[in-house]
Point group: C2
Chain length 133, copies 2
């Protein structure tokens, strides 16, 4: 069963290649812009500075056939099934990134530390839930 | 720009229709099974009871053309752009669900409170990050 995912925009970042991307945002990722489709202005209308968002990206350069990876953070760890890792290599290379909104200019959204490189497609934005479980 | 998302499995739940689904897991969602593709056994190999996971679903019955919704939780609130809500109605109807793994039997994963109904396609599983930001 397959579904058609459509880019809602893309990341604008000083990060220029997959190799430059910190594995997690707290490892030094820069701020970035989400350049969203102007046709989605109504969907973006309530985004505001200070919001905490989950940005869902499509890691379009990832290898979708990989099922097992060697964790980059500790090469001595054994190979690990991708569903137990945040590796971009996985059957559906979706990335989840928790960011804070710094500014909103129409459908351009400035966010803090984002571990995704320039040109990465964005496929969804969701508010972080305050009471999670 | 579009991408092909492939189901990695589906939800098995006593919840039978969209109308039955609690809006968030802490509003009384039942436990459920993730019936994953046996061809992805290697990707699942390190899942274990006790793991906290983000289950990414494809809310296949959602209206993808909706940009503004009236929050169900409080009908007096004004219409809100979907990127500021967790509504299933959105350009790409991805669902994010934080669950705890109760048991793993091969590629069948038993999880606690999951707010998704029977048959919902699953598209990714990721570990919850312990040190988020």
């Amino acid at each position: 069963m397959t579904f058609e995912l459509r880019a809602i925009g893309h990341v604008e970042s000083v990060l220029r290649a997959g190799e430059d991307v910190p594995k997690q945002a707290d490892e030094g990722a820069p701020d970035a812009w989400l350049a969203l489709d102007p046709a989605l202005a109504a969907a973006c209308a309530d985004l505001a500075a200070g919001d905490e968002l989950v940005v869902v990206t499509w890691l379009h350069e990832a290898d979708r056939s990989t099922q097992v990876v060697h964790p980059r953070s500790d090469p001595t760890r054994p190979p690990t099934g991708v569903f137990s890792t945040r590796s971009p290599a996985r059957p559906n290379p979706l990335g989840l990134h928790t960011v804070r909104v710094l500014a909103v200019h129409g459908t351009r959204v400035h966010v803090d530390a984002l571990e995704a490189f320039d040109g990465t497609p964005v496929v969804d934005l969701k508010p972080v839930l305050t009471a999670r479980r």
